[in-house]
Amino acid sequence: MRKAIITCTIIQFIKTNNLVRIFYLPILPLLFLCFPNVAFSQLHNDIKQVEHLFKLEEDADYSIHLKQSKNELEATASLLFLFYKEFISSQDIDACVFYPSCSVYSMECLSEEKNTIIALLKISDRLMRCHPLASPASYPIHKKTGKLYDPVEH
């Protein structure tokens, strides 16, 4: 940055000073040659910063629920969930009004809630609340998806 400002200041001096204006064209390439690393190193930094632009966001890894399952019930539920996500939900219309979707909510509820009965009650409650008439005033809006935000609460 300091080098760039020095270069800019010298160029500005050349541009504004009438005496050296006639030497402007020969001086400019020389000046550029004096600091060849300035432009390239700055561009290199800029390139590093813009590398992530246009990158597609990766899909969520749902297999984590299967890996983290603590018992046979959780493992079976995770497998069923994975099958549903991979083969059924992937072809379905985007009907769920909530974020995270009801299936993801169910998996999170089963893995995070210690009491399975309470987890099942919570899932049933969520499935009953998920309909097109769900009140937007009762939930915050998830910025990215524009859906009603309803995560698992403890």
Binding site: T7, L28, L53, I93
Partner: protein
């Protein structure tokens, strides 16, 4: 004694005023140098705070200090505040070079926020006479902004101009090849075509987007539901078959078409990202 009192008071006043001024000037220099050290160390919040303090107490070269503050906020990824200080630097400065740095900084901020049109608007404000390093940056930013807006012709011209300013004429032909490739696959993935194809034959839109597994899945689901409806209409009645299967069928039929559109769009974005990576590789200096 009375004769000496008045000159003594006068001298004391003069000394105190001059020393106070010196102290004040030293203090501001110290603040700026401290802020500079913090910037070098990567403590951008503290650096911005100290630079702001220097501006508040009337430090000289406010345009340069505003530029530094903008860079502090840029490094903390507070792009909105960074833009505000780039603006302040632009309006506080009478030097074209600092104005150019401020405009370039603001354009880059907008690019990092994927706001390509505002970035281009900023770049339009640039002086026509720029230093080579500023030309390189301006063309590079313009190239990315045009690329982000899918204006491939302008993006190609900007990137080629950037390479020419860098003295990498040998890479211009490679850049042309890359953009020729972009034009070839550009029309290959049309999301609307994928959507229509999936409506005609479920799964064909997914095939068009290169998603074979999803295509088979869609065909199996919609085909299965169609088979079920035929089975039910033969066993019971057409009305009952429609009543029981149609809601499910429309979900997966329309869902499949929507997903085909999404996959085509994703395929396009994936190809675009690969091309973008190739362009960045070309722009990188060996």
């Amino acid at each position: 004694m009375n004769l000496l009192r008045k000159p003594a008071i006068f001298c004391c006043l003069i000394i105190s005023i001059t020393s106070a001024k010196q102290l004040s000037a030293q203090h501001l220099d110290e603040v700026i140098s401290f802020a500079g050290r913090q910037f070098e160390l990567g403590n951008y919040q503290l650096s911005a705070k100290e630079y702001n303090r220097a501006v508040f107490f009337g430090a000289e070269n406010q345009d340069l200090i505003y530029l530094k503050i903008a860079q502090c906020y840029f490094n903390t990824k507070d792009y909105a505040l960074s833009n505000t200080f780039f603006d302040k630097s632009y309006f506080a400065s009478s030097s074209d070079s600092i104005k150019t740095e401020a405009v370039l900084g603001k354009a880059f901020n907008n690019i990092l926020q994927s706001r390509y049109m505002p970035a281009l608007t900023e770049l339009m404000n640039l002086d026509t006479m720029l230093s080579p390093s500023q030309e390189i940056k301006a063309n590079f930013y313009a190239g990315i902004a045009y690329f982000g807006m899918n204006e491939n012709q302008q993006a190609e011209e900007a990137f080629k101009a950037c390479l020419e300013y860098m003295g990498r004429e040998e890479k211009v032909a490679l850049m042309e090849d890359e953009f020729d490739a972009i034009r070839k696959w550009g029309g290959r993935y049309n999301p609307k075509t994928a959507w229509v194809l999936s409506l005609i034959i479920p799964g064909s839109g997914q095939l068009y987007a290169g998603e074979v597994k999803e295509a088979v899945n869609s065909m199996a689901l919609t085909g299965g539901l169609l088979y079920l409806s035929i089975l039910l209409s033969r066993r019971y009645s057409f009305f009952e078959a429609v009543l029981t299967v149609l809601p499910w069928f429309q979900r997966y039929y329309l869902g499949g078409a929507n997903k085909a559109e999404k996959y085509a769009n994703e395929a396009f974005l994936r190809e675009r990202y690969n091309s973008y990576r190739n362009i960045l590789t070309l722009m990188e200096d060996e």
